[in-house]
Symmetry: C2
Subunit: 490 residues, 2 copies
């Protein structure tokens, strides 16, 4: 408890790494770039997964499962896709091991695959290769499928949750008869992601589209939600792609329309990943540890008895039993921690570190006075609360915490969207204040590259709700149709 941890102000990056470890969320494995998601971290991810899965089903999608392996040649079928994904990936070349003369386990050279298999970095190619056989007529459309899966992108510099070689995600892959329907699908899923981020993660996001150079490899339009972390860096939290007919053409997927003529199918894909865990952690947590929005907290209320001897403990446990059952009947997850091996102070510190939204302490004096001590994690406020009606109080407090976290993050973000009208100002804001910088851009990749090279900031998105406003590019002075958001990003 007295151990000193790195604060956000001291070293944000180190604070993050320590926090992921202290809160027992994940750790690096001995396999380069791959993480172990520990039970507490996985429980949070499971909550995210369940909520998102429900939203996908409510919008008409079904889950399915496609192979982990992709034949090398598939990646080459869509020209831009191969450029974007073929480079850093895990390649399976053999399918058997054997013992050598010394008894060591070695790869059997005779078991070489004719065509190498790639561990999926994303599944457009393998899925469109299946859709080819599924789609014949307009009656077969739309296809609205999602899969929960692991994917591998060979990253050289990894950070837990934010960038790992293997990560968990969902990828939606839909097929449509018309361009309009596909665009609407891509936009719908963007809104599903944004609602999830704001309502459950309590994390405000900007909805926008990527500039052409930042699009997904093979997409005609990439929609994204961008969040802002407490260090002023942006984080892309989810993307939804309108793929046009690119994959349909690459895999020759046509359908007969109502008039019987053959047309290429229109496509979307969309995904969020365990990266959301990193976003969640960095949006709310403080120097004491993790802070979780109640809707995603595996334990929402931790109750700790403070007692001397078994008699006191029994009296407290009896009193608490009615509260836990009342809270559970309200759908609130409660842990009553009567573990005799650990002191109350130790328990309190652990639940604080792990971001449990509400801690309740109850001792003999509380029993006598019909009170309990309630501490909210977000504001670290302690209050003595009447036992009568305490379940309702806690229920209300959880809602308050949820909206407080959102409002706090929103206020931070609002303070950190800065309009600038010159490159000098741009560089100044970037190096002092950080956050999103709203500036005019001439629409060229050349200008984007220059800014990126000189400042490391990139265009995070062209906001969907931006004001149409003519202006001059801060670099070239050429005409611009509206401001775009720049930031340094994870």
């Amino acid at each position: 408890m007295s151990q000193k941890y790195t604060t956000r102000a001291e070293d944000y990056s180190k604070w993050y790494n320590e926090l992921v470890n202290r809160a027992d969320l994940a750790e690096h494995s001995d396999v380069r770039g791959c993480m172990v998601i520990k039970p507490y971290g996985y429980a949070i991810w499971e909550k995210m997964k369940d909520i998102l899965d429900k939203k996908f089903k409510e919008t008409g999608h079904s889950n399915a499962y496609f192979p982990l392996f992709i034949p090398k040649s598939y990646l080459s079928k869509e020209a831009k896709h191969v450029e974007g994904f073929a480079k850093e990936c895990a390649v399976v070349t053999h399918y058997r091991l054997m013992n050598d003369e010394d008894g060591n386990v070695v790869v059997d050279p005779s078991a070489k695959l004719e065509e190498e298999l790639i561990v999926r970095p994303t599944s457009e190619t393998i899925i469109w290769n299946s859709y080819k056989n599924w789609i014949h007529s307009y009656r077969d459309l739309p296809i609205l499928i999602n899969q929960w899966a692991n994917v591998v992108r060979w990253e050289m510099r990894t950070r837990l949750f934010l960038r790992t070689a293997e990560f968990l995600w969902q990828e939606g892959h839909t097929a449509h008869a018309t361009k309009q329907e596909a665009v609407e699908e891509a936009e719908q899923m963007l809104h599903v992601y944004a609602d999830f981020a704001e309502q459950y993660m309590a994390m405000p996001v900007v909805k926008g589209v990527k500039s052409p150079s930042e699009r997904f490899a093979g997409a005609e339009e990439t929609y994204c939600i961008e969040a802002l972390m407490q260090d002023g860096k942006a984080l892309q939290a989810g993307t939804s792609h309108f793929l046009g007919q690119n994959f349909a053409k690459a895999f020759d997927v046509k359908f007969a329309d109502k008039e019987g003529s053959l047309e290429y199918v229109w496509a979307t894909s969309w995904g969020v990943s365990t990266r959301l865990m990193g976003a969640l952690i960095m949006t709310h947590s403080d120097d004491e540890g993790l802070v979780l929005p109640p809707t995603l907290a595996p334990i929402q209320v931790a109750i700790v008895p403070i007692y001397k001897g078994e008699e006191q403990l029994n009296a407290i446990s009896d009193r608490v039993a009615t509260l836990t059952s009342e809270l559970r009947s309200k759908g609130i997850s409660v842990k009553y921690d009567d573990d005799d091996n650990r002191r109350p102070g130790w328990k309190f510190a652990e639940y604080e570190t792990k971001g449990v939204p509400i801690r309740v302490a109850i001792g003999q004096r509380d029993l006598d006075n019909n009170k309990a001590e309630v501490t909210r994690r977000d504001k670290k406020e302690k209050k003595s609360v009447d036992w009568e009606g305490i379940a309702d109080y806690i229920e209300q407090l959880l809602e308050d915490i949820q909206s407080n976290l959102y409002n706090k993050a929103l206020a931070y973000r609002s303070e950190h969207i800065t309009e600038v009208n010159s490159y000098e100002e741009f560089k100044d804001v970037l190096s002092t204040k950080g956050g999103f910088i709203s500036a005019h851009w001439d629409g060229t990749e050349e200008t984007e590259d220059k800014i990126k090279e000189e400042t490391k900031a990139t265009i995070r998105c062209i906001p969907l709700d931006r004001t149409e406003e003519t202006g001059e590019c801060i670099i070239t002075g050429k005409p611009s149709k509206g401001r775009v958001l720049f930031a340094k990003a994870y």
Copy 2:
């Protein structure tokens, strides 16, 4: 509808393959040995997963996630384990592709891994390598973790769900301070699996232990549940292993007990996979198609209107609306299929093929008479039912179907456990009647091998509840302590 499909009697194996295809459950992908689980098949798997996951959590387990890749050297650490698993597996040797001089995508020879990575065939080694860092004292025990994951075992002959190179499963991995606790855990999970098989899959199973030669590679005891398919072949539906201290020794995992002395940790692992889908299909389905127990059916009730013109359809739809909402409030999943593009007969045939437990047809005459026609899939019985109270009728019928399926499968299995007292009799029963054969065995691997070689039958298990009964081995005449179950198996 008039298409002729292979019957079970004609060719059981072909019947199965056609059925998986007709019911739209899964298909072979173009990637050797890997399957695509289609939405309807995946929806059934999801139901299984949700129920099992709940049972695991109720018995104190948490989910986590460990890496897909295992360093080659890890497999060698447990001597028996490497023999069992190192042979047929997918080996990652490189981490980058590049364009060659002709612009083709090829493996970058400079991106060769120092140590090859194996795509996990099972995760004992990578998990115990983590547990090593997690376990120091008795206070860190037990560890009760499960993971839902994909695994790869390079199979040469594959069949959808039953044997595929990649499959989905769950694997529990627990660590304990005492041998007794670990054995109890392994047995507890066996019972969880058996209860799931019987109560949800409506599939009776024999609980037993494997003979030493059939044990999991690295286990001291392998518990299993064995089911019997309609062709008289057995199917291993789940296993739970008491691993002793083998993996703790291989990865040097010790804990300080209460007295402070260092001891090796005791382990279990247990798993079921998408193979259960194959078992489910083969236990209940008939020549018309899939038959599903109601508890695992994605659609429990399909309602089909029979009408001429919009007016009739509207009247039927109005009436049906009250029924669907009443059924849904009972937790019953209903599909009202008013798709105007398909004829009722076509719809009925589809829901029959897909194993929907109850179909309801309602036309103008039914409206007039306050009736509806209810067909149960299991017995193919049609009945005209009063509209008044029809929701309760359906609810009861679903329960009847569930227990009928179980009882039918149990009756089949009871008829197909045959006690024999000579090898002649054994061979005769095996070739004519099939099923489980209960016979005395001398306990040697030699005898097992002989029987397997000569008849293809193996010891499926030594039943937990077998009668202690001395006898003579049917092959060698040597003394035996009790009967064991033999069968040909999937």
